[in-house]
Point group: D2
Chain length 330, copies 4
């Protein structure tokens, strides 16, 4: 495989925010193209009518998609539904990237075909992804949290529960009509949800944190909030350390040196606007003053639709096909 290989991609579920973002990214990718894209409600319509600015074939229903006719299938289907389709993709002998949560945290009842899925966080698992047949694309909240915490988890520097206070734009909640997502309900408001450490992404974060810590990682307390913005996630993370550290920022700068999509902030903290529309994660670190125990505040920001979903899927696609990891994402 070389840089000149081209690939045709099938998109399952192109009508939601994630699927649309993926279609936009693939439409300008120099080596990948959209083989087909599915939408149950918009089947038959030209892609460009449904997603302005994207040229491509007419949308089809998932049942009519030629799974074996593309080089890779990316699923943007809802949790639950997605695994069923990924199984068919695997049976067709085609590589798959699953953006749902279905394959990210294997459990006791996970079938063998699903256990082969590699967790698609390239900064941590680059080599394994490159050779994978099936990729479980990470959740948006876990992407921002795990990349922020990895330098401390690797070094075993965390004492006690980690507080992850996260806020997301509304595209993270999907494109299905729900009253609580109407403009008049969201604008000028802000709220916490899944309060009490009960969000689905917690298990994914813990599973990844344990892997990085090489055993039982510190406990995590995670509270997501809904922001009146379209896209973006910003997490403010509070960590108690096992002891004082001199130049905390240096750990992130060292660990992520050369990473094209990680920006370790210098001099100021990241804002959503630093990452909107890009595949970057921006991470800022500050020691906590005026307390008697050594603590850090880490601020981690991504675009939930790009690094938190479709952009990371393209990054994984680039690895799967041996292309430059930044292809189509610059």
């Amino acid at each position: 495989m070389n840089n000149y290989t081209r690939a045709r991609i099938g998109i399952l579920g192109a009508g939601g925010y994630t699927g649309r973002e993926l279609a936009r990214l693939l439409a300008r990718h120099p080596l990948a193209s959209i083989g087909w894209a599915t939408s149950e409600s918009d089947a038959g319509k030209p892609l460009g009518d449904v997603i302005p600015g994207v040229d491509g074939p007419a949308l089809v229903r998932a049942d009519d998609a030629d799974l074996a006719g593309v080089d890779c299938v990316v699923s943007c289907l809802p949790h639950g539904d997605s695994a069923r389709w990924m199984e068919r993709v695997r049976a067709a002998g085609v590589r798959g990237i699953d953006l749902s949560a279905d394959l990210r945290v294997p459990g006791a009842s996970t079938p063998d075909w699903a256990r082969e899925a590699v967790y698609g966080l390239p900064e941590l698992h680059r080599e394994r992804i490159a050779g994978a047949a099936l990729v479980a694309n990470p959740g948006c909240y876990p992407t921002a949290a795990i990349l922020a915490l990895a330098p401390l988890l690797w070094r075993g520097l965390i004492a006690g529960p980690v507080i992850i206070n996260a806020a997301s734009g509304v595209t993270g909640a999907g494109r299905s009509p729900r009253r609580e997502l109407l403009f008049a309900e969201i604008a000028e408001s802000y709220s916490a949800y899944a309060v009490g450490n009960v969000h689905r992404h917690l298990a994914e974060m813990r599973s990844q944190a344990d892997g990085l810590a090489g055993g039982a990682a510190p406990e995590l307390v995670f509270t997501p909030h809904l922001l009146p913005v379209k896209r973006g996630i910003l997490e403010t993370i509070y960590v108690t350390l096992t002891g004082p550290v001199d130049d905390a920022r240096r750990m992130w700068a060292d660990d992520y040196a050369g990473e094209p999509f990680v920006r370790v902030m210098d001099g100021r903290m990241p804002a959503l606007a630093d990452v909107t529309g890009s595949n970057r994660v921006a991470i800022g670190v500050a020691p906590v003053q005026n307390v008697s125990v050594p603590m850090l505040t880490i601020v981690s920001a991504i675009d939930n639709l790009v690094k938190g979903a479709a952009g990371q899927a393209v990054q994984n696609l680039n690895l799967l096909f041996g292309w430059s990891e930044t292809e189509g994402l610059a």
Copy 2:
């Protein structure tokens, strides 16, 4: 003094967001009226031209305000400037309410006249406020935090540092033109500031927490964020407890029973939209699951311009003049 006493109020600094909100509240207050209001940049203009919907006298420069000609002066001047004017108000023998931070945390160099200021959080200091000559109106972040934490501080139930993750609408940053507050910079963004526990309000929170704890309160870690909304503060607070509690919500419900401006949520957490435009604080409490230590998450929401500033000033005014505490705030 009785319910039929009326009072004329002077407003120092009526041109900012807080001063304008105060003018609007006083304009519909049944017992108070605006005696004069100052603005250096809009002096000479009718009040209604500067603050739509508010009838009243033309604005004057502060130097031209008849301090002794009103029954109470409320200062919405900036920090630093305000104390100087409050001293003159006291010298004129007139009662004063100061919305700046100048008088809230007495220090070694605080002069005697300023030491007499009572901290104007009515739910905690109602009796002292009623007899005060000078009231230090609380900061917006401390109002939400202290009312949320008081039930635990009173009972001595907190173990270890308290994490206060707060988010505020942009009116909290004032009305002076600054590039970082332009619509095109704030919309679709979100950011943390004063990261590392260095915000000015920390000292105020600690001072009040110590008072409630009857000694050294647990340490506080406070990170404010800037929301793309006009008004409102929502704080998500993480507390480690000294031991398990059975029905946590009950403590808040009991302590605030009968409080007209405290709403202890039942069944769901508060959102900004629950308090926008009102003088209420809305508090929700949830035990943190999936951790091995007993923890609570508390969510506390106020309108920063009302309960966090001008509304609380009116509540204090009502106490000063012996009126019903809800007068003009229903």
Copy 3:
């Protein structure tokens, strides 16, 4: 009837944006109170749980509402459904105010009971409303347009078609979940709809304009737009005049002198923020320069939920019960 009469009001359809606004206004009205309020989806819940800050009885289903047990019924039901209920209200001998479009423009098939409805624009039909049994509360777009155009229509000064370019906040589109009203679809966008002069409100505007002109009024061309704001309507109206006028603004100032809810701007044009939350209409007038025919631009702004719906209903209620017209609306 005198100022001390109190009245109990029934609200049909209290769950939408208009019904909720009406409940909030009635909750602080000194002479009116909510007798019952209906909601099919929230029946059984306390009013305060559904509409924060509003005290009142539990919501009931419309079929369970005691129509005859209140002094007036206000319907916030959808178009089509509302007329059916208004007929029952009339049959029960109770006065009614209908906020739907059903009774505003009588047609050939309109039954007799519906023909008695008085068009509830108090600034134009105050006397007739006071004695009415049934009031057709005006549409939001027509309220802003007709009040802006009345001074010219009365005087017969308009030559040729009038262009009404209108923009509304999203609460005008209702609270039912629809994809095109999701925050992520509306934020950072703006669009025209019903382009080509085909909006339902056109007939209502024409009917009222004809009435004011005392015959066939000039033709109207009306294009509504959807703004990324929660509430408010601003209309920019272009009128070609039959001849030059010297001091155009004077006509509006004279005609609306003493009107408590009309503000004729002086020196600048109105913005949405001038009227949000109030029952005012703000009107600005400017001659059009750099053209060879005499033309005016008129800018008219209201809060679509207040003067454009619930506030105007309260204004009509005040007239029906002989109260001060500004009662509960100051």
Copy 4:
């Protein structure tokens, strides 16, 4: 000159919204690169610190820019200031593109060097731009208006004044701190400005319309509005025709067939979201019903920072250097 020629571009005034957008576009242009970029306030800082995601040399002060050291200078300086710098650029023998209004409408006092500027609307003046030494990049409002009206102006089909009701996002008002552009002033508001046909862009529109009409074009009435969005312009245009037309849309479809950046809508009208972030103009046309004279409503949308400024500058750059017109804009 051929497709493989590369060019180094100098940016005067890279700190404003237009300059920043231009820097972002050039950073991903395959054939152009940023030679230098100026900012008086941020001189000395790396470009990437000031404009996230853009690599390039440190910013310099304009006085320190090597005008002759680049292949083309693009000015994003304010009106007034820009002409002075363009004169120097011409004196240095370097091609220039001016985004200010300074060179767009020659007047009696315009010096000869400025008269040679070609109006840079590629869809209308492609050939002349290709050979120009100096390009006057069109204003944002005129771009949307002139492209919308050209098919009618060419055919001489317009009778009477044209009403252009336009609305723009706030980046159109610049990045200098002004109170009226603060988030808390703009959010949830909307307003008209320059009411009465007095906006500076009117002369530019008239000048271009006259050119297209081959003489005196119909009069124009133009009212701009300020939208609570970051970027985008949508204009709703009302035209009275000299007579009925059968398939109005066909004229636009024919005239703009093959134009890469013009999308003539079919079936629905354009919204801001259709063009945000792209160099497209989207135009919809609808006959006006329910009037006795033949009229059309035309809706025209662009991104004010792209097709209305920096994107159109890149389109002109592509023409100047003989590159594909879509290079760097796909």
